[in-house]
């Protein structure tokens, strides 16, 4: 996270929170709410950042969420994951999940 120059807020603070949420998911500490937050944040950072860095930084997260959503869901805290985990055959783009 050394790339943001820090001039605009969505990129400066948004990428930090994105990284934090992703780490939380990888550590198995995240809930479905965190996943929704991550999606909302990515949408916001993409659409409000000042330059191309912030506007594209969320892309890898958004595309993995689209194509490998099941992997994210599998990493959520067991009590918060939706009961039967959906397969990856239907890509979903909704930002509200």
């Amino acid at each position: 996270m050394d790339e943001s120059c820090g001039k605009c807020i969505p990129c400066r603070a948004g990428t930090v929170q994105m990284h934090h949420l992703l780490t939380k998911i990888l550590d198995g500490k995240a809930t479905l709410k965190d996943l929704q937050k991550l999606e909302e944040l990515c949408d916001m950072v993409k659409n409000t950042s000042l330059c191309g860095l912030g506007q594209t930084a969320p892309n890898p997260v958004l595309s993995t969420l689209r194509f490998f959503r099941h992997e994210y869901l599998e990493l959520l805290r067991p009590e918060s994951a939706p009961a039967p985990v959906k397969s990856a055959t239907t890509p979903e783009v909704s930002t509200h999940a």
Partner: protein, 238 residues
Amino acid sequence: MAAKTLTIDGKMVGAHEDQTILEAARDAGIKIPTLCHLEGLSDLGACRLCLVEVKGSNRLQPACAIKVAEGMEVQTHSERLQKYRRMILELLFAERNHVCAVCVSNGHCELQNLAIELGMDHVRFDYRFSGFDVDITHNRYGLDHNRCILCTRCVRVCNEVEGAHTWDVAGRGADARVITDLKQPWGEADSCTACGKCVMACPTGALFYKGSTVAEMERDRTRLEFIVTAREKKQWIV
């Protein structure tokens, strides 16, 4: 000076060609939220709170930095924009330490006011708990980095109005911080004339008069406007 006609939130508005969307909206009585903008200083479009939807453009545009154009159709308060604005505020509150209850600016803070105005009543992101220093080496003013939102109003007012250029931004991303001169303590920054303009321009409790305690830090922005009008329009009458 040519006039332009545009619509803002469905309202027909006339504006001078060199006005920004923000100025045209303000003249029409439409308030767009801002943080980095300060009347009389150059605009840089950093806080992104003033983003508006302009028909025909697929990107959101900063109202403070974009000039009006003939036939422009602008939306300033769509649900999507309000949601983004609240989220930007949440990011700011989570980024450093904003404990309003013990802050010099409590009750007079532009960040706090915007949170109230836009209905940002809780922060969903985890707080980062910045552990930056507080610089109280200047004999009249203090700086608490933990309340700074990096709007650079201090940088611009000191450079553009006072002409001292004491402030700058050092570091990048989350580590970015405002510095005085070559990063020495403010009290040792020789270029500072102790005019206090940066303190008057700061929207938060980051810059304050020494000796002010909780909620005592009120700013006199009319003095700042007075100086700018005097310089730009050569008018000394208030």
